[in-house]
Symmetry: C6
Subunit: 228 residues, 6 copies
């Protein structure tokens, strides 16, 4: 099976080599959980390895995203270079609409051979739907369109609670191919960050909850270490 190496230290090991190629993964997390850093690293590592990446932002401007990338990781000193060489694109679609997102994605794949995509965030899309079934069907059709494209994607989803035990399953949990959860767990006197691969179609994977950190050298997952 083809796999896309995320390049995130520790995570590829948990995934037995990487995300199965062509799969579409939801990345869940609360505010400050590290979703953006995870996505940057996924695209950056791809770009360094020669796979062009696209960041589709549905709320923040492209300038904000670029600014954020730079200030988060010193190593992103070469981000500008990656952008200049078209290995890293940031696009804000004109409309807050999944069809528009698919159009942007298809266009950039055709023009620039994009292999990795980040969609930030599904929550912005979902808010604009009246009923659950409408959103589910639209999201499902969107994924069907994506399956015809040769791309592996990560879509961020905003978690609504800090408590891991209280996770309710959302529509994305059932529809997406994979789910990676980022937690900012409450350990009495401090917060501890942890990651788990909750679901990944097409591959076996670790079911452990592991600590992670966002370091100046990037997003690190400490496989084999205990959170508790």
């Amino acid at each position: 099976m083809d796999r896309v190496k995320t390049g995130i230290a520790g995570l590829d090991e948990m995934l037995n080599g990487g995300i199965p190629s062509g799969r579409h993964v939801a990345l869940y997390g609360g505010p400050g959980a590290g979703k953006t850093s995870f996505c940057f690293e996924f695209l950056y590592q791809g770009a360094k390895a020669g796979e062009a990446g696209l960041y589709i932002t549905l709320e923040e401007t492209t300038e904000d995203i670029l600014e954020n990338m730079k200030s988060t990781f010193p190593m992103f000193a070469d981000t500008q270079k990656l952008v200049a060489s078209n290995k890293l694109e940031i696009v804000k679609p004109d409309k807050l609409d999944l069809e528009e997102v698919a159009n942007v994605l298809e266009d950039r794949i055709t023009s620039n051979g994009i292999k990795r995509a980040v969609i930030d965030s599904a929550t912005m899309i979902r808010m604009s739907f009246g009923t659950e079934i409408e959103y589910r069907q639209t999201l499902f059709e969107f994924l069907s369109l994506l399956r015809n494209l040769d791309v592996t994607s990560i879509t961020t989803v905003e978690a609504t609670t800090a408590k891991r035990e209280e996770m309710k399953y959302d529509i994305e949990h059932f529809v997406m191919d994979g789910i990676i959860n980022l937690y900012n767990l409450d350990r009495e006197d401090r917060r501890v960050r942890a990651l788990e691969v909750f679901k990944m179609r097409g591959t076996d994977h670790s079911r452990d909850l592991v600590p992670f950190k966002v370091t100046p050298k990037g997003f690190k997952v400490y496989v084999g270490e205990k959170v508790f």
Copy 2:
């Protein structure tokens, strides 16, 4: 009493020989709980034993399902052969509607002597109903139609919470003949998968919670092992 051997290691033992023939079972589980693997195994084991099976998909395309089957189990190398020999059919009805599902099922039983069916999922149907009583009555009538057909079925239902203790009873719990629950339990530092037979009309059954795994050799239930 006639019984349909699921062929799932361990499960038939829990059911004192298998699902009573002609019964209609709900399979509950969250995302990534293993519902699809369970259903594949149920149909695959039937097909290998000469009982033709039908997978009715209400969301994913037939191609997606076939693709998923192949990537999940290496042993499904012979799936193609089973499909070619009509021992395994995958159909997506034209409408998201229980009457249509019953029509498809009846047609395939008449034409191809289907003995086992999977309906994936009741949740897709339920979403389209306005009130509980409407859905309940429709589901009940659907089961009445099914009772006139010589088939044993499994219908997947999406669970809405990861916590076993918080299970609320849904309409399917009362209407269906049997309930098998798949859990992805939160054990502090990791997730543990477990299965229980919650209800099965027409037979006594184990009431234990037992661990299960989806291995390259198929879906295995570890009867006699402890989850906690």
Copy 3:
């Protein structure tokens, strides 16, 4: 005081001899909790002792009920004979309506001297009411009609949660003369079935929670044994 012996091993002891004659009892339980087995046993034991019984089904067909009776208890081998001799009747009213249920009941009492009745289930009736007070008044009037008839009844009610501690009081709790709860309790690695008499107007009763089993020889309550 006149009492109706349920004939269920252990239960009559908990009730100091049986259900006070002419009282109307709600039987609460989740799916697979054993409500149907309890009701069968109540009618079967009555029929064997010469008291004609009536099973009023509001959802399943009379054929389904009869089929279920046979497959649940081997001892029901003589059910057919009881049905043939009019000691056991199963009726499905034309309408889902309490007035209709009362008519059926009155008619069968007049024609066949019915002494015990089962109404399965109140939940089906309740779903068709818009407001709580409407349902309550209708249920109350229904009970008033029943009080003029010489019959002792059990009405099943579907519980909505598996947790005994989370029981909310429903309208039936206040209106009916008695309440018997059947639980399918979560004991970490397995489910344990237990029964309690929660309320019984007109008699003192045990307030213990006791284990029960549905055995091939019938419904058994293990008075004096601990659940925990």
Copy 4:
């Protein structure tokens, strides 16, 4: 201060002599908690001591109430005599309406010198109101009418949960002069009944939770005994 001795063993001690005369008390309890037995005892003890009592029933018929009284307490053998001598009246108002209740009460006080009243139940009244404030104002005006009458009353209120810790304050909690709670507490393997005086305007009172029983000799409160 004038006090009305309830005559219930133990309770008058908890109230430092009885309910302050002319006060209006809410009696909370779930189904089977013992509300009706409590009310019977309150009226019976008054009648025996020469104080005429009135039971205003808003749901059950007067015949039902009388029947219930007899079957609950053997000592009510002399109930009939009390009824015949007008020391105990049971009335069902024509309308489910607080103004009607006040009219009935005033009429019976004038005609028969009623000193103690039971209104069963506030829940029936409340269900017929659309908004909280409407019900509150009506209940308040009703109490104002009652304050002009020389009577001490107990109004039953149906509790909605079995858990003492989850008690939410209802409108009656704030408006009524006193609150007595009856609990049917969940002690793992059985239910234990307990009473507390939660609020009583115009007198100090015990704040202990104490066990109670409904015995053939009446309602007994075991002051000084522990529930846990």
Copy 5:
């Protein structure tokens, strides 16, 4: 800073001398928590010290309030005298409306030099508002009017739950200058009363939870004693 001594034993100590003059405090408590006793004591102690006080009742009649004062505290024997000498006024406004309350207050300050006021209760006002923001703005404007008057006030607010841990913040929590909470805590076998100063603008204060009692000699706060 000017402070208004509440005169309540222990409380002034917790407030470092009293409520900052001209501040408006919310007094939270469930039924029977002691809100009314607290308010009586606040006005009584003021009146004894020469500061005229006004009790604005929005639900009960002025006669009820006076009656309650007398029956609660034997020491209120001299209440009548205080009322006669205009040191203590009880008024029920014609309308349930904050503007009306402000008019009454302003009028009594002008005519009678009122220094302390009690408004009982905000809950009555709140119930008449459709939306949260309307109520909040009206309450805020009301406080603005009050700030132009030379008066220190306590407004009672009805708490909706008995559990201290479950306190949700209400509009009054944010808008009022101070919050004093009265609890009737559930200690297994009995209820224990406790007080805390939750918020007080313009002064530092104790953050301890302390027991209190309503004794025949008045409202006593036991600073330095433990509740648990």
Copy 6:
């Protein structure tokens, strides 16, 4: 990276030097949690260091705010001087509207070189929106406007529960650049105040929960001390 030193003892250390310049931070807290003291200190310390500050109040009047500042901190004796010298401005916009807030802010930056701003509170704004997505988009556009201005801001948000574990993520949690939480934690016999930096884009930061106090000398964060 440019940083704005908050001047709050301990906090700048937790932020590795201060809030990244030009970022917009949400300050969460319940009533009496210390939000206002925190904001005053932030502006006061800026003004003392030569950075002009603006307090935009959306509920209280400018006079109230000034009054509050004086009574909270004795050290604010020189507040008047700071106000006179235009180093500290307090403004109440004419409309409760984010566009109006942005106009005020831009105008004061142009006229008076404002570097630090406080907006008190987002909750007042949010209440006036019908749907979540409308508020989110408006808040987002507002932040976009702010990003064009050379200012660092703190916006207060009212927390709705006292329990840290029950924090639900609000729209502000996702949209704002940083989140600082102030807690008034329930420690059985008293309340303990604690602060955490929950999220801060563009800088690493402490994830500890640390105690804080509002002392006459200002807002102090006790880094390195335990809350539990």
